[in-house]
């Protein structure tokens, strides 16, 4: 099969970006990345079997297994999406250079920004499709299991002589632990975090000399990003705890340079049964877009006059 990319120099930016994105998506799919879905399916199904003994009344029957499904599934989604976005992005530029595709594209009157944006969009499309598939599987498993748990709980509550209103309340409470809008919001938060990682990896890959370097540095930043909020708090509350000038400057620089990934830990709260308000999700989306746009422009800034 040919890997040639047909990009019309006369088309609009959006069209060019879309063509490169579609090609990148196809290129990545051919790397058989979707095989991991089989692993995810095993995880989603296996999480059903960790229904540990419980000692309470009907309200506790199966409650643990529903949380287990969400916890395992969202955990796997986070890992898969972050690894996928970093590794796929880190591979792109070196692979295009190795295959000589990069020279073919850049020899045409294709703006380098379009090339980078298309590559990033292709990765994001892959991450989005992967997450959508995993989300569909998780929702299906959770839906089936929630109905089973509700049936068990209602049977037990009825046998214990619970009145109809109490049974209805129990049913509503358990159904709320099943698939819901907050859970979909959490999956979207996973996507936002992966998007930031992909755009960050793109930036690093524009000046890095190897895929390995990009991958390692990206993961380092990913973990450091989870401490960014701590650094910010040290800076904002400086003086109260008597920190020195150096500590203040260091915490300020760290919090200005590193992305704050802790913001996306709302996923944990959703798994624990908290509702994720639309407004909070919208604010998180703004944060995600802010980073993605900045890192993409920064990548272009470095890549614009890079010699190959």
């Amino acid at each position: 099969m040919s890997n040639a990319v047909h990009i019309s120099p006369k088309g609009s930016h959006i069209m060019r970006i879309w063509v490169i994105a579609a090609h990148t998506f196809t290129q990545l799919v051919r790397m058989k990345v979707f095989y991991f879905l089989a692993v995810f399916a095993v995880i989603a199904i296996a999480s059903n079997f960790f229904d540990l003994p419980q000692h309470e009344g009907p309200e506790a029957v199966g409650a643990n297994v529903l949380r287990s499904i969400k916890s395992w599934s969202l955990g796997a989604m986070t890992l898969f999406s972050v690894v996928l976005s970093v590794v796929a992005t880190a591979l792109l530029l070196p692979k295009d250079a190795e295959d000589r595709t990069l020279y073919t594209i850049l020899a045409k009157p294709v703006p380098r920004f379009d090339y980078l944006a298309g590559k990033l969009l292709g990765v994001l499309l892959l991450v989005f499709v992967s997450l959508a598939l995993m989300d569909g599987l998780m929702t299906a498993v959770l839906h089936v299991r929630t109905n089973m748990v509700v049936a068990q709980q209602v049977e037990m509550a009825t046998a214990m002589g619970w009145p109809a209103d109490a049974v209805a309340s129990l049913r509503a409470e358990t159904l709320a632990s099943g698939p819901n809008a907050s859970l979909q919001g959490a999956v979207f938060a996973v996507f936002l975090r992966a998007s930031i990682m992909a755009s960050l990896a793109l930036l690093i890959s524009t000046f890095s000399s190897s895929t390995l370097f990009t991958t390692i540095v990206s993961f380092l930043i990913y973990f450091i990003g989870h401490f960014q909020a701590d650094a910010r708090n040290i800076y904002l509350q400086a003086g109260e705890a008597g920190e020195g000038l150096f500590a203040r400057i260091a915490s300020l620089v760290l919090s200005m340079v590193m992305p704050d990934f802790q913001l996306f830990n709302v996923i944990d709260a959703v798994i624990e049964g908290q509702a994720l308000p639309m407004l909070s999700l919208a604010k998180l989306t703004l944060v995600g877009m802010y980073y993605a746009v900045f890192f993409t422009f920064a990548s272009w800034f470095i890549f614009a006059d890079k010699e190959f």
Partner: protein
């Protein structure tokens, strides 16, 4: 443009961009924390306990996943009866997932019920040490539940579990003052009922605990009348017996037999139910008027004196004094 100059510009842009987003992120972080969407910071102690790999995973935004794995590990410790490890693991689990009711409830159950029962039968320890280990396990279970309630004040289930623990006939002897234990149980059950999410039995349980508190009989009677008046759903055998007993406490001169038959519908039902109530010595329920009404009912039902429930031996005592001889 020279390479170093570009890098310098990029670094500057990074700082400017960072300075611009800093206040927004700080405000968003605060609003998410206020909305209960952020867990508390992971303490250094917890990071040490879960190890470097799990710490990295937990800090990478997968705290609940680490908690799920630790819960499986705690179950293994439970099957191996390693109670200190069970306790330590649950303390770590709730640091990771403080809003999950299940972990608080299960951790407390392992300490106050499973570990405590284990020490009753642990032949490796002398009785005095077994008794102390039993008592400590129940206290730990209570403290763990109370910590769970402080973290989840609106959760009816944790409050109901605390009420159950404090009024359980196998557990309340672990506390120095049974009266204070019943009062605390009544308070926990009442708070659970007041959340508006608890099933009806929780309100009845609040009353059962209150009825056992010496000195608060009038309050208990008022609650009994209210619940009894709410309809058949609340008219359980225990409720009927306690209503009778508390009315007899309020007015010892009332016509006990007539009132008992009125409550139970027939002398046979009244005799059977009050005989059962008389035998429930381990529950610590009050028995005002029961020993007076039983002979009257026996007379009406022509039950010979030698077959009277009052002449039958009561169930033998079964508490720490017997378990740890």
């Amino acid at each position: 443009m020279k390479g170093w100059f570009k890098i310098l510009l990029l670094a500057l842009a990074l700082l400017v961009f960072g300075a611009m987003r800093l206040p927004y992120e700080a405000a968003l972080s605060k609003s998410l924390r206020d909305a209960g969407l952020f867990p508390t910071d992971l303490g250094i102690g917890t990071r040490d306990k879960i190890g470097q790999t799990s710490s990295a995973v937990a800090l990478g935004g997968l705290r609940t996943l680490v908690a799920t794995f630790l819960n499986l590990r705690a179950f293994t410790y439970f099957t191996e009866q390693r109670w200190n490890d069970v306790e330590e693991t649950y303390n770590t689990i709730v640091d990771l997932a403080p809003r999950t009711r299940y972990y608080w409830d299960t951790g407390s159950w392992h300490m106050a019920y499973n570990a405590a029962s284990y020490y009753i039968n642990d032949s490796k320890l002398p009785p005095l040490r077994r008794r102390e280990a039993w008592r400590m396990s129940i206290h730990k279970g209570r403290a763990f539940l109370e910590r769970g309630i402080r973290n989840n004040p609106d959760d009816w289930s944790l409050l109901a579990s605390l009420g159950f623990l404090l009024s359980d006939s196998n557990k309340y002897p672990a506390f120095r003052d049974a009266n204070a234990s019943f009062a605390a149980a009544a308070e926990a059950y009442q708070k659970s009922a007041d959340t508006g999410k608890a099933p009806g039995y929780v309100q009845r349980s609040a009353f059962y605990a209150l009825a056992r508190v010496e000195g608060r009989e009038a309050e208990a009677l008022a609650l009994a009348r209210k619940l009894y008046g709410e309809g058949p759903i609340n008219r359980t055998p225990t409720m009927k017996a306690l209503l009778f007993v508390l009315e007899a406490w309020e007015n010892p001169k009332m016509d006990l037999k007539t009132r008992a038959i009125e409550i139970y519908g027939s002398p046979e039902n009244a005799y059977e139910a009050l005989s059962v109530h008389w035998s429930r010595v381990r529950d610590g329920f009050p028995v005002h008027g029961v020993s007076a009404v039983i002979p009257l009912l026996e007379e009406q039902l022509s039950i010979p004196k030698d077959k009277s429930v009052l002449n039958k031996p009561l169930p033998p005592p079964a508490g720490p004094d017997e378990w740890f001889r």
